[in-house]
Assembly symmetry: C2
Homo-oligomer: 257 residues x 2
Amino acid sequence: MSSIQLFPVPDLPLIQPGDRLAALIVDGLAHIDEQVQATDIIVIAQKVVSKAEGRIIRLADVEPDEEARRIAAIVDKDPQVVKVILDDSRAVIRTRRGLLVTEQQGGWICANAGVDRSNVPPGANGDDYVTLLPVDADASAEAIRQAFIELIGVAPAIIITDSHGRAWRIGTVGISIGCAGLPPLWDQRGLHDLYGYELMSSEECIVDELAAAASLVMGQSNEGQPVVIVRGYSIPTDAKSAPARTLQRPAAMDAFR
Amino acid sequence: MSSIQLFPVPDLPLIQPGDRLAALIVDGLAHIDEQVQATDIIVIAQKVVSKAEGRIIRLADVEPDEEARRIAAIVDKDPQVVKVILDDSRAVIRTRRGLLVTEQQGGWICANAGVDRSNVPPGANGDDYVTLLPVDADASAEAIRQAFIELIGVAPAIIITDSHGRAWRIGTVGISIGCAGLPPLWDQRGLHDLYGYELMSSEECIVDELAAAASLVMGQSNEGQPVVIVRGYSIPTDAKSAPARTLQRPAAMDAFR
């Protein structure tokens, strides 16, 4: 019986620039007499990866330009935050009051280029900070995986998550912006159903489903549980590992741009 | 520690029109000495709900009209299947070779109006059949919930799932097209983060995340495990239950139509 279990890594400190996440995860799990297993999938919220990598900007240092002020007026957001968003974006996809969807520098199409104010500690002088997405979350995931290999000789799969809205559905869901050690898609085309029909259009995005599942655990603690272990999921062995960026629909294949 | 467990209901028969899903689930769980608990979330693949409700069409009975033939030529699909899709749709959203996105009669925007050929048994005479989405999957979920109350005096939450593609991302993920006994959205707006910032845009679609999580278990068995129990997830108590159709973004709020 394929049973899956999800649990949070307890007792993680507030992450600071330079922190080694793999070591903190190993320490946290030790508090509940757990160890990382080779078949585990470790799901990590983007926010803590960004903080560990120093992807933090002090808003007081940001000078909004003409373009940022113009768009800020349309979307009704802080011009300094809009400037940060635009600086980390390749293209503006949609603007409307309350909504700024861009193609982030790494290729992700999402609200505010993933720039986020929550859970970033204000400086001692009361300054406001925001986080950016990791420069390359696939590389971040691979680096964390390598850190586990060095530290404990075990290579778990790693997924880095963010929360994205959807074009047709209300509410956000966890998705993967970076992964290592597993295939993002499970291509079921060519498999046959119970009656022998070939499945024609079943390319299941397992890293996004794993990210969504882990978000259920993360979300219950008001972002205090940014790392979740998924245990018991059999990673399909018929597909090669690939970066999460391969999930980005090329503009030429994208019917909605 | 908020640990979540997911496991499939074993030994379900192939579902036939008229089958009572609640009773079959109770029987299946008995095979592994399990019972439905009041805090369980029972996630059921749309396909078996559609079959139990008789939402099956024999393609030989379908006469494609001019419009169906025209669109079939554009999307390169069977004109009979396209006719079934159009008959169950309010509007065509996007057409392209290999892609037919419509607004299904129930309001869901998805590929092929959810019409699906896989895992429908061919008739004795070799005829081909397809399934339609349930007429009202929220009502289906509520009826299944009521059946559990009558049968065992326990009212678990119910989610009915389908697999949807996404505008910006490759691959499908499990989402909810019907639910009962839980709120589809967990509105975190008004909550505060670790540093006291009010979370402004955190409306988490928990039924879609639960659907995605359950799909990981369903998918591993080539559609042979259409019902999954989610145990250990604390349904947010600060939100009222609501139908999944409230997740449909009204056209006026939809920046991509």
